[in-house]
Symmetry: C2
Subunit: 339 residues, 2 copies
């Protein structure tokens, strides 16, 4: 692991910025190898930091007067908001002042900015957003979970490979099982895209392709890497959140209906806390954009300080493990990723 | 409502055929207006029927010696299995011997057979599979949930209209709220397909289009009709089943972990039974193929007798309400559905 990692944090990104972002950043400093540069309006960050005790030698404020709004057009934001906390943070990584970047801000702008400023690894057609999803046993890495809505078959093959490298290097899974998200297990199932991708993945010797998987099998932990286009990935991702939430809501409602079930629920309270924790995205933190030359982590827009701390920790780990360099090495070695 | 409805039942379709299909058919006869023709090998059906008491004047056996297998190629099945229970049942509806059809067999073959034999309503580009999904308040009708994996924008507009007619006539929802399943609420979100469909739906005066919906909002009951292509629809449908199952599994596991929570769970047992019932597909039954000239219901492959009974009841209701005729009437009135 690297001795020292400097993480650029977009202090103004996300629904709970800047207070939760700054609180999460301060907490992340529990890792002594970590240094943080906070990007945003200096006065706002300074007054927020005044609420915390922290090692001043390891947090630096970089004044960025502008803010990229959550609903702003990504390309316009990149073009016109050069002095925003997000774009200045991206530039600091590009210039080598920081090793990695964390933002809970506008996803599209973060992707567009990172791609155009930091740049893609040579051979990678499209950067991809990968999200670690909790399953019954461990983690399934879902990609693309948000970057490319309309995909060519070759993109998905690259996603599969980048996902494999991620699971191998970060989660220490040797020979990770890669599955294609589809509407059935049989190879002839699916739409035009999945049919073509199936054949390509089958012929890709560097990937441990185990075939199609139905979305419902993901929570069972039947694969380590699940690939799909970002439309399908995003539907699955958000549905997981929604279903978990509304099922727990229904359970709560039912349990509160009678005195007997109320008492029962109180006695079983510990169990419910544990289940809720399994679906708690704050415990996971963020999702990396893979295929870029540097580590860029997209934290959930509604991140609280725990999620931010967790995302910064991820940035530290990925940077220490030289995840981008591993993907680059693979691209150099493997002709199939070259264009 | 029609006085008498004759439903053709594919006695050999589904994982639990013929016993559960026949048991469900017998139970469905509780509705005195219902007559059933059971298609399949006569000896098998006869010996199965011997286990039940029923009104013999309202069940007829039509001998069909062949069976369409669950994994058989749909087009090949339609071409070569003219004497199968499924295809003979389809023909009986086409010829007018039966009013409606229920099968839990091979979905692709049922769709291909119904489309080529019974035929599409004039003006309808593609028949669509619509599935009623339970939500926090009532039902959301999801379509396409299985028929068309690769869709043109115009297909989705027709799905929206057929879904509206279904919710209005079957579920008595005046002016049903139609939403487009997408990865965000904003109109510019999504892939090439959804962007184009959004504009078309917006301009469709006969539809109460309320905009995009994220899959996670479906369980909250924020729309009555949710449209998407069958790839996305099938992912959502199967994921709902999978998530409900694995969450309930996790809860059970956690509750059994300590004596205290075990006792608590026993006290709250009634609540869990109620929740399970809400996600129990047997209570809902089947999914109609809309856009065909006659009522065709696809029952879930794993249907038990309750699901079959429920699917036959749906066939009775749709036929009585003249659902196909309503769609046909709309097509005649509305130029936008004409080709």
């Amino acid at each position: 692991m690297r001795a020292k990692v400097i993480v650029a944090v977009d202090a103004m990104g996300g629904d709970n910025a800047p207070n939760e972002v700054i609180k999460g950043s301060v907490r992340a400093l529990a890792n002594k190898n970590l240094h943080i540069k906070l990007f945003g309006p200096e006065d706002i960050i300074r007054s927020e930091l005044a609420n915390h005790d922290y090692d001043e030698s390891r947090i630096e404020i970089i004044h960025a007067p502008e803010i990229v709004k959550m609903d702003e057009s990504p390309t316009k934001a990149v073009r016109t908001k050069q002095n925003s906390s997000m774009i200045m943070a991206v530039n600091s990584v590009k210039e080598g002042f920081c090793d990695a970047l964390v933002s809970a801000g506008n996803s599209g702008a973060l992707l567009a900015g990172s791609t155009s400023i930091i740049g893609r690894i040579k051979g990678i057609e499209r950067p991809v957003l990968g999200t670690p999803l909790p399953n019954a046993k461990d983690i399934t890495f879902l990609l693309d979970s948000g970057a490319n809505m309309d995909c060519k078959p070759s993109y998905l093959v690259q996603f599969a490979k980048m996902g494999s490298i991620y699971m191998e290097f970060v989660h220490k899974k040797p020979n990770p099982r890669v599955a294609l998200i589809n509407v059935g297990m049989e190879r002839e199932k699916g739409n035009a895209l999945t049919k073509e991708v199936y054949t390509l993945l089958e012929n890709e010797k560097t990937i441990n392709f185990i075939g199609n998987i139905e979305a419902r099998s993901i929570p069972k932990g039947e694969c380590d890497v699940a690939v799909c286009d970002a439309f399908v990935g995003n539907v699955i991702l958000k549905y997981t959140e929604g279903m978990a939430g509304s099922l727990m809501g229904m359970i709560k409602e039912e349990l509160m209906a009678t005195t007997l079930s109320k008492i029962g629920a109180m006695m079983a309270r510990g169990s419910f806390v544990k289940i809720k924790k399994r679906f708690d995205y704050a415990e996971i933190g963020g999702a990396p954009f893979l295929g870029l030359k540097r580590v860029v982590i997209k934290a959930h827009g509604s991140s609280d300080h725990r999620a931010i701390r967790s995302a910064i920790h991820q940035a530290y780990v990925f940077s220490s493990l030289r995840l981008c360099e591993e993907i680059e090495k693979y691209c150099l070695m493997n002709k199939s990723l070259d264009r």
